[in-house]
Symmetry: C2
């Protein structure tokens, strides 16, 4: 089996590979909006067809939401399960897009050619890198260099309600030696990366209730409890002056960064000035005694993601509102326990509640952090393959975001996950004008071809 | 001149008086919505016609917004200037109205007959009590018992942008011995009241800015400054544990309640349990060492009237917002200086601002509190007249709301204002199904007839 020939085939076939991605990008598979239910099904069917053409035994599996796609190809060597998601984020505000989000096109930019469309990076472009790598292997060698299973979901952008039940019900079928996930990014423009640390997430909404209706602040101001004041105090009390979260026991299970990883991260020479400067900021605002990379990769956080209450329109209305609400999320690391932290958070909020105020917690859900054991030989094989492809030593990095699937693979299927991706910070995922660098796509396909070769 | 005959005439003519009010209520003079500009002009013209029929020299006066109505009737005795406003609040949500807001009708309710329409209480019904009192005086005696001028504006519900310039330009014409204002309420169901204390108002919006766009809280959480946290700390710091406002110098100019007024208020036996119970609360939440009536009438306040930032829709979005904003208002008393307090507030907010955050104050406007000197004999005359009409001793009370016109009369025209009104707490002003008790209208007209008699 010749890797060189596979890579050459990938280069020669890039235009066709791109056309196939464009086809998938034209399907508006927005999972959160019921109006696009049929399009989600179409995207799943399109993938089944593509996988079948590659010799996979492929099919859709119904769920209460959008279908799963599961496929298997026999092969020698280790058994890998590749995961991706075919659903995409909504596109609003659609008037901020320079061209229609579901009419993908190649665009020359100062940074190189990009594929512009909703889902180009998250996650259709990324999952297609793996499919096209399989295609090239088959075209050149008639078979894949490993036993490959595929698992695509269509609800990742809407909270994955069917994922865990489906994994539990189909655990035997999905279990492999290792999971491959392509939903992350490079480190900077040229350094390939394997994410070995993923923060977990605990999300909750807090609704503070006071009077049974909005009051006039002239008539009741000074005597009636104002839920916005109560909520502000709760939020203000969540951090101390050094930026630490104040919830009791919050740092239980937060590990110190191992020396080895600390050294490796130092070598990455992360430019936090640039990172913050790109969004108009200049100073790290987190815990006082932590480096920027620790703040975003290996430390837990508490952020208010939204707040509302009272009159929010133009001008002024002297209302004393009946309710105020905030959406609050915690990024978790190490072995922090989402359930325990949720309980402590609820207790804290209740302890701040004056008489006459009520509170509701309508939303709570959480997932623990994931820390990969890099002992599985696939990690070292992937690191070598990526380093070869990008002529730059691949890095084990952390990821501030939460990819719960990695935790589920560990917990439900007792399987490590190898997270490799080719996205960039400026891909505008979840925003207007999403793009994927053509280089990410091309070298992404080549990277997977090399990783598959390395696994055997 | 016989007061008894005037009162009898009022009783006999009540049906016609009510019909005239209904005519005015049918004109949808919503000042804040440009779509109703023509209707505002129609309401002004209707009043000019009505006043001319009563022997006034009456006319509309153009402004950059809606016209003023000014009218004069010669007469012996003191010169009074009666103020009211012919514009009304918007009606939305219109589907919460039981019948169309501009199709007024008499409705029998368990509490008595009410006039149901937008503006029935605020302020068309109230201003018509005075006009109908004048009508009765003229009908019975051929003339009014005092020299009466009238001043109606059409922008009270939209911030009165033309009021102060107009008053300054026409000061000589509008100056009288005392101003009469009918835009307030009774104390409870049966106790007539003269408002001698009005809280002032300082309103401002605070917009905290952080990054130049909304960020992903996974990618930036823990390193980027969150404007919602900053805003929450600012709000949390505005009050101390005893409910006092913490701004430096905030209580400068806040007088202690005079013993005499304290005693009078004690006699009112205000039922704060009932007052709060009606809106689902049970405990006064203001300054620890103050009585409920002080809290709502004679103490300054700081209330957040609205807050917003980040994701406010259903479900969750892990955004780290670029902005957060709050609408904050202060009720002022005594000689508290709105400009000084605004300056101190701005300084406080800026002192809370971490590096990398900006702040905007787009809205600031304020008016000082009004404290009437009750030495003008009109106060005692009105108190006697009201006590006679309602067979209940009239009370000098405070009002938590702000009626800036009273301050303008003092400042621009050096004129005290006698605030007498017949509204009730349940009149639903500014809300759907606004009403005015027919008794308020009837006895309101009789009250003004008595007050006019008492002035001479």
């Amino acid at each position: 089996m010749s890797l060189e020939k596979v890579l050459a085939h990938i280069d020669d076939d890039l235009e066709n590979s791109t056309d196939r991605l464009m086809e998938l990008l034209r399907i508006p598979s927005i999972s959160t909006d019921p109006a696009y239910k049929h399009d989600c099904a179409r995207a799943a069917d399109w993938l089944v067809k593509a996988l079948s053409d590659l010799g996979f035994q492929a099919g859709t599996r119904p769920t209460e939401g959008h279908p799963m796609v599961v496929a298997h190809a026999e092969g020698s060597g280790p058994h890998v399960l590749f995961y991706g998601h075919y659903d995409v984020q909504p596109v609003d505000p659609v008037d901020l897009w320079d061209n229609p989000p579901f009419q993908p096109r190649l665009e020359k930019t100062p940074g190189g050619t990009v594929i512009r469309a909703r889902g180009a990076s998250d996650d259709k472009g990324q999952l297609m890198t793996f499919l096209e790598a399989c295609r090239a292997w088959r075209a050149v060698n008639g078979q894949l260099p490993a036993r490959v299973s595929i698992f695509f979901e269509g609800e990742e952008e809407s909270g994955s309600p069917s994922l865990v039940p489906f994994m539990r019900e189909n655990a035997a079928e999905l279990k492999a030696d290792i999971a491959l996930i392509c939903d992350t990014g490079m480190f900077g423009q040229n350094t390939p990366a394997i994410v070995t640390m993923l923060r977990g997430l605990l999300a909750e909404e807090v609704v503070i209730t006071g009077a049974n209706k909005d009051l006039h602040s002239g008539m009741y101001g000074g005597i009636a409890r104002n839920p916005i004041h109560v909520l502000s105090r709760i939020i203000a009390g969540l951090h101390d002056e050094t930026g630490r979260v104040t919830l009791p026991g919050f740092y239980d299970g937060v590990p110190d960064l191992p020396q080895q990883i600390r050294h490796q991260w130092q070598k990455l020479s992360f430019d936090s000035k640039q990172f913050l400067g790109d969004v108009g900021l200049s100073l790290p605002a987190g815990e006082k005694d932590r480096t920027p990379l620790e703040m975003i990769w290996s430390r837990p956080t508490c952020e208010v993601n939204g707040i509302s209450g009272g009159y929010e329109g133009d001008g002024f209305k002297t209302v004393l509102p009946a309710k105020a609400r905030a959406k609050i999320s915690f990024r978790l690391v190490g072995t922090q326990d989402p359930e325990q932290i949720h309980a402590n958070f609820v207790a804290y909020v209740k302890s701040c509640l004056p008489a006459d105020c009520g509170v509701e917690f309508p939303l709570g859900h959480g997932a623990p952090a994931s820390q990969m054991s890099t002992e599985n030989p696939a990690f070292e094989a992937a690191r070598r393959a990526l380093s070869d492809e990008w002529s730059q030593s691949a890095a084990y990095i952390g990821c501030g975001g939460s990819i719960p699937i990695a935790g589920h693979f560990k917990e439900i299927l007792d399987m490590d996950a190898l997270l490799v991706g080719f996205g960039h910070d400026d891909d505008q995922i979840h925003s207007p004008n999403e793009k994927y660098d053509l280089e990410s796509y091309h070298k992404g396909i080549r990277s997977w071809a090399r990783i598959l070769a390395g696994l055997t």
